[in-house]
């Protein structure tokens, strides 16, 4: 059931861009039951989700000539690096080592395909594809965090940190929608 919820959110990520190495910091796929997320799996998803948007932002800085896209991409890189650092600091403090599972692998694979698509585009086509991806990505991640990760977190500090990061993703979603309207 949880996997279905996750995949439902991932359907919003068809335009998302990423690289499989987003999850290189995580250990190999765990053997946990598909429906039971561990804090280690949650940590892997958080690390991966932030790396996906950092990676997409770097592609936007390389390929876009639009100042609003570049400004937004810079903001995403800065903010998601800060969120990532905070997450890594917390799991390190908690002694949790991120462990990938099949859900992380699915997210990673979809992101890899979308990033490959972005790299074939340029000009306005790229800008629209990138910002559409950002809107879809942030909607999907907000859904995953609220519906799966927060309810699934066992450690209170991890649960609180996940709750605390939602406003950042919502602000980014609103920002991405403003940028799209301006294009």
């Amino acid at each position: 059931m949880k996997k279905q919820t996750f995949l439902k959110h991932l359907r919003n990520l068809t335009l998302a861009a990423s690289i499989i190495t987003s999850f290189s910091a995580c250990s190999t796929t765990g053997s946990m039951h598909e429906d039971q997320l561990t804090d280690a799996n949650i940590a892997a998803i958080v690390v991966g989700a932030n790396n996906i948007d950092i990676s997409a932002g770097k592609i936007a800085l390389q390929r876009s000539n639009n100042s609003k896209i570049k400004e937004f991409a810079t903001r995403m890189i800065t903010d998601h690096k800060a969120v990532l650092k905070s997450a890594v600091d917390l799991v390190t403090k908690l002694g949790v080592t991120p462990v990938n599972n099949s859900l992380v692998a699915t997210l990673s694979e979809q992101s890899k395909n979308n990033e490959a698509n972005l790299k074939t585009l340029s000009g306005r086509d790229f800008d629209m594809a990138y910002i559409d991806h950002e809107i879809a990505y942030h909607k999907a991640v907000i859904g995953v965090i609220e519906d799966m990760l927060i309810p699934g977190a066992h450690n209170k500090q991890l649960k609180d940190a996940l709750t605390g990061v939602v406003p950042a993703f919502k602000a980014h979603l609103a920002h991405s929608e403003m940028v799209k309207e301006s294009l």
Binding site: G164, A174, H175
Partner: protein, 130 residues
């Protein structure tokens, strides 16, 4: 007889000195009190926290001459910008950084880095002597 007269005069002088000292002390205390009241009533300082991608409070009522300070409690940077150019935009505020302005008029503002974050300063009065 002379000794008694001198004694009485001495007591009168002492009494005058005591009264003068008490009056002087009261005057000093009164002036201090007036000064303190003036200090307290002239301006106030307000703090707006930036946390969870929100300005807290996002609407603040102040008087002209008050000081408003924003303090960033988030681990991502934020900034202060207003559309009417009444206030010079802040630089990027990292966690723990502050930005202060003296209020001359009310204005709407937003985070220059995250434009969905909005706030408002409302001036309740317009002091003539500011």
């Amino acid at each position: 007889m002379l000794f008694t007269k001198s004694l009485i005069e001495g007591k009168q002088i002492m009494t005058k000195l005591t009264v003068s000292l008490v009056l002087g002390l009261l005057l000093v205390l009164n002036l201090t009190s007036i000064y303190a009241q003036d200090e307290l009533s002239s301006t106030k300082s307000h703090i707006i926290l930036i946390k969870g991608f929100e300005f807290v409070p996002n609407v603040l009522e102040v008087s002209v001459g008050d000081t408003v300070t924003w303090k960033n409690k988030d681990y991502v940077p934020h900034s202060i910008e207003n559309t009417t150019q009444l206030v010079k935009p802040s630089l990027s505020l990292d966690e723990g950084d502050t930005y202060s302005v003296t209020i001359k008029d009310g204005f709407n503002y937003k985070c220059g880095l995250h434009p969905s974050m909005k706030g408002r300063i409302i001036v309740l009065d317009n002091s003539e002597d500011y």
